[in-house]
């Protein structure tokens, strides 16, 4: 029984990793850059939700949607004002830029909201349900269901809508896409908005578990493992990758005594390195072949 309990906890935390990884993958598919500040955007989402729901005491749903809207717009603005300047430059520039931005967000959060640990009331906190002897918390349920809903919506959006195809074109050759009349800059900013929104959703769903403070941005880095494991070009891959990481973490935590102490905290990074060394394509990659020389 406890194994299944473990699995559910792993799947729930894995969903969070998956959502963050989703943000990475979206931006990477569109602009071939990696946003190292994704975890920090998640953190900002949690903080904004805290302000709206916890401090101003807005109803949960309203606060949730408003948070996503605010953070999404922030993502759009971020691309328009900052990220756009370095597009086309060697990857090192964007890596440095987003890492720097991550630190700026974290520093800003600790100054604006302070360094205490905060929390806010959600309709799921503290409630549990029983099913065949299993105890499942409402919070975990909310995470899993929320992820499924969001994933489906995004998947449909990208496969069925014209914008999805346009996004694909822009990512493969920006100049050619321009010639085809695609408003590339707008599309890139939209991707950043969507990516930020997804991170915000993850932040709000995660808040009841981890509470709200600046250290939750480190989740972003574990989510890399999920993105790479899933194969950096694939949306369902990101979620699956995340779930695998989440479950592996739980297993490492439980069987710590058989491995070595403290393995749980670095299990995500170990998986990441293993995948990169042995099978960098990932599980669901859409590339014919990872370009190698």
């Amino acid at each position: 029984m406890s194994l299944i309990q473990l699995l559910i906890d792993g799947i729930a935390s894995g969903c969070i990793y998956g959502l963050v990884a989703l943000g990475f993958v979206l931006i990477y598919k569109a602009t071939e850059t990696i946003n190292f500040a994704q975890g920090d955007i998640l953190m900002l989402g949690a903080f904004v939700a805290f302000s709206l729901i916890g401090v101003f005491e807005l109803p949960y749903i309203l606060g949730f949607l408003l948070t996503v809207l605010i953070i999404g717009s922030f993502g759009f603005a971020l691309d328009t004002v900052v990220i756009r300047q370095v597009i086309g430059q060697p990857p090192f520039a964007t890596v440095m830029l987003t890492i720097g931005l991550g630190f700026v967000f974290r520093g800003f959060a600790s100054i604006f909201w302070g360094t205490d640990i905060y929390s806010f009331a959600t309709p799921f906190s503290g409630k549990i349900t029983e099913f065949n002897g299993l105890i499942i918390s409402y919070v975990n349920l909310s995470i899993i269901i929320g992820t499924i809903v969001l994933m489906t919506a995004l998947y449909l959006f990208f496969t069925l809508s014209k914008i999805g195809v346009a996004m694909r074109a822009s990512s493969e050759n920006q100049l050619a896409a321009y010639y085809m009349g695609i408003p590339v800059k707008l599309i890139f900013s939209l991707i950043w908005a969507i990516s930020a929104g997804v991170a915000a959703v993850a932040g709000v769903l995660l808040a009841p578990i981890t509470l709200v403070d600046t250290s939750i941005s480190l989740i972003g880095l574990k989510a890399f493992a999920a993105a790479v494991l899933g194969g950096f070009g694939s949306i369902p891959g990101a979620i699956v990758g995340g779930i695998i990481i989440g479950v592996v973490e739980q297993l490492c935590g439980t069987y710590e005594n058989y491995l070595f102490e403290g393995i749980r905290e670095i299990s995500a990074y170990l998986v990441l390195l293993l995948v990169l060394i042995i099978y960098p394509r990932g599980l669901f990659s859409d590339k014919a072949e990872v370009k190698k020389v």
Binding site: Y28, T31, E32, T33, I34, V82, Q85, V86, I87, G88, Q89, P91, F92, A93, V95, M96, L97, I99, G100, L101, G102, F103, V104, R106, G107, F108, A109, S110, I111, G114, T115, S171, E172, N173, Q174, L175, Y178, T214, L221, F224, A225, V228, E261, G262, E265, I266, Y269, L270, L272, L273, L276, I277, P280, K287, A288, E289, K291, K292, V293
Partner: protein, 357 residues
């Protein structure tokens, strides 16, 4: 504008192009040597810290600036150097041997890491080094036998030739000599066939291969050499801070090193020095600036990361060639006066092009 009349190949091969430069650099070194007679212990300590940063910067510059390989977890090598050195000292190994072994250990750890991940390109390599950095930090915290675990580790102060490290001037000279030797080693590597191979890997792997450069071997070598320099800096850093707390070799320290090479100017050893001076004096400037800020902001611990991140972002956006790049532009301005055109350095419009095959 200076014209150099060349009469033999040595003038291109040598480190210093002509006598004028020889004199300027000579004066600089001389000034550094007589420093302890003019400034007091506190500033000597600060200068030593800048020298240590410069050595670490040389390591990262060779790897990222010259070979084009990202390393987001370089603080790990500072840690390897620091802990190895402190551990050996605590167990009675004399200073000279301890530091050489620390450098060697760091070198081999670099090679060991470089080998498996050398096939990765760009983004994937960056992520892998980031993961490595986190794992290393974790290992430092947990490996009690070697690093003292959560209790941390006190770094013994060695005595040799009758002079003790307690004396700031001694430590200052050790750092200065280390920096000068490191500079020589780095300059030599970079003007030799090995260094050319590194730059070839950065600019076009496929061409480098067709010219006979074994990409895998040279990437691993670059990692190893870089780790060696950074390990040396780590060993000296251990003395500078005296006590190794469990979590100091973290991502913020890696970011500090990255800030150093970006702000200084990627792709040049001059940049390393400028970057080291900048990053070394940053805490002082922040401390001074704190007096002018409202207390609610100034007292926050998040201020330092915020400013570091902000400076990094601003340099990437507006001065990607770093301080050295700005210095070159200023020199060009004076050399070409009054015909200097701002357009010379205007950024070309760039577009993304997919790396996917």
């Amino acid at each position: 504008m200076r014209f150099i009349f060349k009469t033999n190949y040595d003038q291109d091969i040598n480190i210093v192009r002509h006598n004028g430069d020889r004199i300027s650099y000579g004066l600089l070194v001389a000034a550094m040597i007589i420093m302890p007679f003019f400034i007091d212990d506190f500033y000597l300590g600060e200068l030593s810290y800048v020298f240590i940063l410069a050595i670490a910067g040389i390591g990262l510059m060779i790897l990222s600036g010259y070979t084009g390989l990202a390393s987001l977890g370089h603080a790990a090598f500072l840690g390897v150097g620091a802990y190895t050195h402190a551990f050996l000292l605590t167990n009675g190994i004399p200073f000279y041997y301890s530091i050489i072994i620390a450098v060697a250990v760091s070198f081999f750890v670099g090679a060991a890491i470089g080998f498996p991940i050398l096939r990765l390109t760009g983004m994937y390599l960056a992520i892998a080094t980031l993961a490595f950095g986190f794992i290393a930090e974790h290992v430092f915290i947990r490996w009690e036998h070697f690093t003292g675990g959560n209790r941390g580790m006190v770094v013994p102060t060695p005595e040799f030739a009758g002079i003790s490290f307690y004396d700031s001037a001694t430590f200052y000279y050790v750092c200065l000599i280390s920096l000068i030797l490191s500079m020589f080693a780095a300059i030599n590597i970079l003007r030799s066939p090995t260094g050319r191979a590194f730059v070839a890997i950065r600019d076009s792997e496929i061409a480098a291969q067709s010219l006979g450069v074994n990409i895998g071997r040279y990437k691993a070598l670059s990692f190893a050499i870089s780790a060696g320099f950074t390990g040396l800096a780590g060993a000296l850093l251990a003395h500078y801070i005296g006590y190794l707390a469990p979590d100091i070799f973290n991502i913020f320290l890696s970011l500090t090193l990255l800030l150093l090479i970006v702000v200084g100017g990627m792709g040049s050893l001059h940049g390393t020095i400028y970057g080291a001076i900048f990053v070394g004096s940053l805490p002082q400037m922040i401390a001074i600036g704190r007096d002018y800020l409202p207390s609610s902001i100034a007292s926050q611990p998040g201020l330092e990361p915020l400013l570091f991140g902000l400076i990094l972002v601003l340099f990437i956006l507006y001065e990607p060639l770093g301080i050295y790049g700005r210095w070159l532009k200023i020199k060009l301005f004076f050399e070409m006066f009054p015909t200097y055109k701002k357009q010379t350095f205007k950024k070309q419009k760039t577009f993304t092009k997919s790396d996917r095959v």
